[in-house]
Amino acid sequence: MAAGTAPTPAMIGRAAQWAAELDGDDVTAARRAACESWCAQDARHRLAFERMRALDQRFADMGPVERTALSRAARRRAKPRTMAAGLATLLLLIGAVWLAGHSLLGRQYFPDLRTAPGDLRELALEDGSRLHVDTDTALSRALTGDERRVSLFRGRLMAQVARDPARPFVVETTDGTATALGTRFSVARDASGTIVTVIESRVRACATAWTRQACIDLGAGDRARLSDGVVERLPAVDGEHASAWSKGWLEADDMPLVAVLAELNRYRARPIRFDPAALAGIHITGSYPLRESDRALAAIAATSGLWISQSGEDRMISRDP
């Protein structure tokens, strides 16, 4: 993590004390306020504290069967009865610690970076690579001596990879990995799986599932979907076009209006309201600013002869006033 953005060990320790104190039985409003003012002092304080609360949430979200299973499994390993069991436990612990350090499963509870709707960020990594991080995205990153790895939990990113043949640059999701053999590509997670789009040079995309694994090499403009251990090639796109979002633009080329509005809504805290059936059949072409979706909406309405009604932050677009 870049110097200055990561909580220091002292901050981690203090955040843990706060989290434990606020976890107690009778917490006074004054102590909550004191914790909030500690968090407000420094973004790193808040980050460390929120990561700890996110861990609570993981446990709170479990169903009764999972909860009971965890309670039993965790305790079974804590009390080995025989030498053999002790050895098995040791192996399990070593394996488990290895897993925590390396697996997405262990890390997804604590993303390093989370963007809010409407937030588009560019991030410089220590190795000189740049990440363009899209709206509503969560990721973690780790740079080690022999690998550069970004874990994408949700949303979309585009990587502009600094050349370093000795350290592969890997973007991983729970569906698989995209390994940069060259320079520029984007990775997006949605309900259908993970979409890898190559803008420049070559990328190896691998889908992994419990029992299956498949890889494919992609060139500029190629796209593939990874899901369930299967790689599916998608129709090729124009790379520059596909990466316009990273510069803050939505490039529509005879695109259905309904799809354009759905895309703009990903960047808004309050979605634009519209009736998809009434707007079906309208296609538009143009470049629209993602960060200023109100302006984009006004431009769309003006060119396609539609009406916008607004009250406060709410916007609605329709054929008739």
């Binding site: 989290a19 965790a74 804590a78 190896r204």
Partner: protein
């Protein structure tokens, strides 16, 4: 460093050491099918991740990878068993365990177990009572015969260790 490997390198490795690896695994699993499965998985993993270069001692490298896969396997079977036991224990009060749900639950439990495994025993027990069994701090103190302050200290230590496990201290 690892990199993409020519299939022929893996092919040679397979030809030279496959039988040895199966025997090695059989001695540990005492089950020929399981040994074959894990050996197969080991070579798949090498195709996927590449070989270190130079590869000095092929057999000890194969054994390291195979042992890790075997541990993953044991852990997964264990968690599946724990889920089945839990479902039986809770009887008709819960919806049935479908294969999809088992896979999903095992994945989630693996992640949480990994975090818990890094904790010292007393800290882990306090943390389990709090987060998994949902007891209050005073109840945990009474149950373990320790003070409220110690419960708080254990919980804080659990947060710190989980955090460091997931992120390191950088």
């Amino acid at each position: 460093m690892s990199s993409a490997v020519a299939p022929s390198a893996i092919g040679q490795l397979y030809a030279d050491h496959h039988h040895w690896l199966v025997r090695w695994l059989q001695a540990r699993t005492r089950c020929p099918h399981w040994a074959l499965d894990v050996s197969q998985e080991t070579f798949c993993r090498l195709i996927e991740k590449g070989l270190p270069s130079p590869l000095r001692d092929a057999r000890s490298y194969l054994a390291v990878v195979a042992r890790r896969l075997l541990v993953d396997d044991i852990r997964r079977r264990d968690l599946e068993q724990a889920l089945a036991d839990a479902a039986a224990l809770l009887g008709g009060h819960v919806e049935e365990l479908t294969p999809d749900r088992i896979v999903e639950a095992v994945q989630m439990l693996e992640g949480l177990m990994a975090l818990l495994a890094g904790l010292p025993a007393d800290v882990r027990e306090a943390f389990l009572l709090r987060r998994v069994d949902r007891l209050g701090h005073a109840e945990i103190a009474a149950r373990l015969g320790i003070s409220d302050r110690t419960v708080k200290r254990h919980v804080a230590r659990a947060y710190t260790l989980c955090y460091v496990l997931a992120f390191g201290e950088d």
